[in-house]
Symmetry: C2
Subunit: 779 residues, 2 copies
């Protein structure tokens, strides 16, 4: 008994030590409630920014359970689904596919609704402005335009700032981190979904240089999470069948489907969506998942097609005429020779350089914004309104510098156009003239892209116009990402890329066989490659956006070059944001310096272990003093001959076990009794923030002295490595199998059966280089 | 000393025991030279067929080294490439991309050459036949046609039977198995490449119902393997820089690129190639690889485009007019309503049923053929000639049953056509009439597909014609796969699928909005989905083949349905062939019955271990008596306090070490001396069949009594699992990290430090169900 108490005190001491250590690497720790505690400027070099661009996302990061827990839980309770009854198997399979179907359906509908709302709101705003311009009421026109933008942006910012700060930004980095095993606070909550949808509508309609594509990915993921959770338990909306999906593996699968559906809906690119989920979003991939995401995106494509067909009869107000292909350039036949290839390669190099510069600037601007955003919701809204005003000024002011161009003769379209969108805006010009800058700047983003890719009139845009437009889009894009609205990066990047592509096309035009519209497409591809650094998925998305298969070799070429060039300077924009937010993202490869270390080198000191039959008080104490999530359990005499590793218990399972109160007065095995009391689904993982809490446990003083048998909840065969294993190999094991805890066992016999536990944080460069500061991270 | 000798004898005993055991599971064992030893009929149920359809491939199967050996070898010699000099890094990176470039270039050129040769040979043959038909010399026409076919098929068969039996069949299953870690005998040898290219040309030109697409994938993989090996060492063609690629990881990466390049070249579908490599071929995937395969296929696309453009000026003889899009249907605009969707779903169901039946029949026919093929090369050739004669009879005979159709009025094309290919064959019909069956049956496969997908004349083919054609293709396809020629499955499947698709289209034609050409496309998609069971890659390949993006939702739908239906009956055709050949393919998921076993249950008895400083004689003896590839090394007193697992040594490394002859008279540590003698590249893996052999070692009696220190070559931190770990979890670890050996360690202390080694074969259902015959494999 004395020994146990001594142990207990030791544990306590260790607990504190660990807390101390966790503070050092605190940007990752699960237990920090850090909003408002950081006051240092964020631009200090090499400081890890634990706060997001709006200071709250990422502050409370919890890694997701190991992928192998599904098996463990099933093993524990012999509840493998294949050994379940036929009815249960049927329920599981039906539900799995039904959920995928529902994700596809709802994402498709939401995306269409988003499109519809944006085009109607923005269309109305532009019609109003054009009308006033037509009456030569220039000041009123600006007031109406800027006013509409201001109101819309205020709505978006207020939603974001007050209801769901996690909805700001693109959302792709957070989804990517989730699928890597990092669950940022409330990133998939219903409130986030609500704000993401409406914030995105208001933000895009407010004329910001932002896209709705990134937010659609996040929306898709949120819809999937919501459907998987089966609504709210509070309102009794949850459904018994959904218990099969209360584990991290099924949840992750659903969210992968959701992200794919989001891309598929945003770009109307079903195959692109699958590939995006595969290449950019998911960290672990199974071919069964390929199959399910493919099903989901097929549903999205069907839904969108039907809705668009329904709208083509004119029942959807100002909804555009674009079909399933958003930016169709299939009419242009690409013919090219060596000189054209050189021009295309030049575009690729430009795209790489501009793209990496863009990433660099976005990172810097995000750090500045996070200082402002941390001051409170009011500051967030003010920042949004300032950017909105600046954007309005650019969109309305810059076209005055453009010259009026006489309308070309023999056009199919009206010139100047009289409706809100359209190709040839009259602006301040005399009749039968158009202002080419206004046609792209004072327009919706989608129409601007369509105009830039249009190749029916080679001379539609003057060189100066394209230069001004490019500069405006490049810098507005940079300063807009990071304000408190849902903001995608695809559209700004495509706009800027298409404008310099068309610029190059116009310059080399007379000597080239490719037309300017195709040059604009290649410019967009090069800039996308330079910022996002995706390859196959971008290629397929562009193919599905433009429906010109013959451009494929050129698009591939330009993407290859721009990615190669940009990779020399920095990482892709999403990776950069993940890092900046301090999300502990596990890379697929081991860093080179890890080869010089062994697993034992980074395990931080001895750790808290439990006996297989442990005193309740000790458990409560350990749970209170630390935030550890996994505790090794040691079989000790009299239950075994020598101390040996029995397994690993999870905090969550311990809480459920303690809540059951199956305690014994003496230290005896009571596993079977305990098992009889519980059902496997009692241990199923609840949605984020739900499940039992330590504070809710109500254990009496007497019970504190009693014992509980941990055998039934222990994962009796955790993955282990020997302490002398190369850290690189341990990292590959950890990442390859998607673990949360990796037990390190001693090499030589006769020592305690476990040396320590490696978690995600122990593999982070910041942690390792913190312990070994003299190690060269590049060697 | 006595104890050591006792040990020795025990080892010997075990060695024999193992040999005995290996004989039981012999279809997998590395050491079997079994060609000619199997005489039992192959149709006996549940017998695992260790021989391929032509009896030799797969007889000598060696698993590939663990993926982690790159790290191990680098760790051993501190030769991490990042710690190499700048020049070496530069060499590695340049070479990696140069090799990818070369693979792309050569695969593109080979594919084009293949196309060119086939179209010229087959075109000439058809012209000759048509000419004779035109002169009403029907018998001579048949003789010419069947004679040409016979000669060509004899060439193909002779090449296959005498030079490289491994070149027969599709090659995709073997490439798939290679990328899973199973190196079938001479599957990537230069002779295989040679036969694959020319055999495929002769086979396709001989009018067989086979494709050149599967062989192209194999060709791409062979080219990659050849380039990675740097030519032949015999002719001093190997290159110093290529030593970086003498390991299994880099070789596997190259072969993945090669397979992708093969698909890209065969279908002129660069993105489809990448996805095929990802979905069907590769077992492990890294995003860096996505990037490299993408580069390779982009090169293929460029090469093909240039060569096709060169040929369009008419310099390539009878080479077709098809551009980068092989079967362009982009002119057809799909409009569909609910009734059409029902028809499409019906097609999907039909495709699923016919596809699974096809797989079943192919499997049965392969088993029959393997009996014939095993009798010797002559029988192989006779079988090929018999099938060739049957094919010629069908192609020439069946059109006589078709009615002559008057030429439609107002056609762009000539009717009847006068050249070899073309749409409207005159055959026996009067002038201004055409024989619709002859236009598809007595034609090249590519032209037949093009005719079936053609929608310019809805009534071009009569119902009876399509029925006959479908039946012919379905059964000829089944009996042709498995004869001793390189034969792809894609084209027969597309032909049969397109014909029943067009049949359905013609029947529902009057009530449908979709035209018959699109129905044919959907039929092909459904049958492909039903046999191959791929999803995304098939979808993209079909998209790139036909260039009609608007068909995407329908193609996705039909693929989903047909795959779902077919999966109810059996596995995909490639998986089935892999299984039938007895290649020990590791599935990505663990089988359900594995959850009821632990790792210790399948480890077969005690195993041969070495002391850390071992007597040379013992090593030689163990190497002679067993074919084991990995041996655990135990640190024993006096080198450690208690026996502990030092690591794992590989047979290959042992041979290199013994060849170096750094022995000592006494049992002492001599590791540093040994290391000084060797260079890291001495241990680099040679190409298949090269490297030191046990017979080449020339160890004297005196040396036999000496000792050698195994520390320098031991992998000191092999991945281990506890004996009580669920076999399912062990399987996931094994497969997830791509291991070859997995050490099983005891749970309780005080026992020998290693219980056994799990290898690929221990996870095979045949092995497990052999030990536990009463286990239900489905539970």
């Amino acid at each position: 008994m004395d020994q146990r108490e001594a142990n207990d005190i030791e544990n306590e001491g260790l607990g504190c030590e660990w807390k101390e250590m966790e503070r050092n690497t605190s940007s990752f720790s699960c237990d920090r409630q850090m909003s408002g505690t950081v006051r240092e400027p964020l631009l200090v070099k090499n400081r890890i920014n634990a706060t997001s661009q709006i200071a709250i996302v990422g502050a409370n990061v919890c890694p997701i359970e190991s992928l192998d827990y599904e098996i463990v839980e099933n093993d524990l309770f012999k509840q493998d689904w294949r050994s379940r009854s036929k009815v249960q198997i049927f329920q599981y399979v039906v539900l799995k596919w039904t959920l995928s179907l529902l994700i596809g359906l709802s994402t498709g509908v939401v995306a269409f609704f988003n499109n519809l709302a944006v085009e109607n709101i923005a269309g109305f705003k532009l019609l109003l402005t054009t009308d006033l311009m037509f009456q030569r009421k220039y000041f009123q026109a600006f007031a109406a335009y800027a006013g509409c933008n201001m109101v819309l942006s205020m709505c978006a910012a207020a939603l974001c700032a007050y209801i769901a700060p996690a909805a700001a930004g693109s959302g792709i980095p957070e989804v990517k981190a989730y699928l890597n095993g990092v669950d940022a606070y409330s990133i998939l909550a219903p409130s986030t979904l609500f704000v993401k949808i409406f914030g995105s509508i208001f933000g895009v309609a407010a004329g910001f240089v932002v896209g709705k594509e990134g937010p659609m990915v996040h929306t898709g993921a949120c819809i999937a999470a919501l459907l998987g959770q089966g609504g709210s338990r509070k309102y009794h909306l949850t459904w018994k069948w959904l218990r099969y999906f209360k584990n991290d593996r099924d949840r992750r699968d659903l969210i992968t489907c959701g992200a794919a559906a989001g891309v598929a809906a945003a770009f109307r690119a079903p195959v692109g969506g699958v590939l995006f989920a595969l290449e950019e979003a998911a960290s672990w991939w199974r071919s069964a998942l390929l199959w399910r995401t493919f099903f989901t995106t097929a549903i999205v494509a069907m839904v969108l097609r039907s809705l668009i067909q329904f709208c083509q009869s004119g029942k959807c107000g100002l909804f555009g005429q674009g079909g399933l292909i958003m930016f169709d350039v299939s009419s242009a036949v690409p013919a090219y020779d060596t000189a054209d290839l050189l021009a295309v390669m030049f575009l690729g190099i430009i795209g790489g350089i501009l793209g990496s510069l863009y990433n660099y600037l976005v990172d810097k601007v995000l750090r500045i914004y996070s200082i402002i955003n941390e001051r409170g919701p009011i500051f967030k809204i003010l920042l949004v309104m300032a950017v909105s005003f600046l954007t309005s000024c650019c969109a309305y002011g810059l076209p005055w510098f453009a010259n009026c161009t006489p309308c070309p003769i023999g056009l199919d379209e009206a010139c100047p156009t009289t409706d809100g969108s359209g190709n040839y805006k009259n602006f301040q010009c005399p009749p039968r003239h158009y202002n080419d800058l206004a046609s792209i700047l004072l327009n919706t983003n989608d129409d601007a892209i369509r105009n830039l890719l249009n190749s029916s009139n080679e001379k539609e845009f003057q060189l100066a116009t394209l230069c001004i437009f490019f500069a405006a889009m490049y810098f507005l894009g940079i300063i807009t990402y990071g304000i408190a609205i849902p903001s995608g990066l695809f559209i700004p990047v495509i706009l800027a890329g298409a404008s310099y592509g068309r610029l190059v096309g116009t310059i080399v035009g007379p000597t080239s066989n490719l037309d300017v519209g195709l040059f604009a497409l290649l410019g967009a591809a090069s800039f996308l490659g330079g910022t996002m650094r995706m390859t196959v998925s971008l290629c397929v998305i562009l193919l599905e956006l433009t429906n010109n298969l013959l451009m494929l070799p050129l698009v591939m070429l330009v993407l290859l070059i721009s990615k190669t060039v940009a990779d020399c300077f920095n990482k892709g924009v999403y990776d950069q944001i993940v890092k900046m937010k301090g999300l502990p993202y596990m890379e697929a490869h081991a860093e080179p310096y890890m080869r010089q270390l062994v697993a034992g080198d980074v395990v931080s000191g001895p750790l808290i272990t439990f006996s297989a039959v442990e005193k309740v008080g000790n458990i409560i104490h350990a749970l209170k003093m630390t935030r550890h999530n996994g505790f090794p359990v040691i079989d000790e005499p009299p239950f075994s001959d020598a101390p040996e590793l029995c397994g690993l218990v999870l905090r969550y399972h311990l809480l459920v076990l303690l809540k059951g109160k199956k305690f014994t007065k003496q230290s005896v095995l009571s596993g079977t009794e305990i098992l009889r009391k519980f059902h496997a689904f009692d241990f199923a993982k609840a949605g984020s923030g739900k499940g039992p809490k330590l504070e809710d446990l109500d254990i009496t003083e007497e019970e504190m002295e009693m014992y509980v048998d941990l055998h039934p909840i222990a994962n009796t065969s955790p993955y282990t490595v020997v302490e002398t294993m190369s850290l690189a190999k341990a990292a590959i094991l950890f990442r390859g199998l998607g673990l949360r805890h990796l037990c390190v066992v001693p090499k030589t016999p006769g020592r305690p059966p476990i040396v320590g536990i490696l978690t995600r944080h122990d593999f982070m460069p910041e942690h390792i280089l913190g312990i070994y500061p003299h190690m060269d991270p590049h060697k």
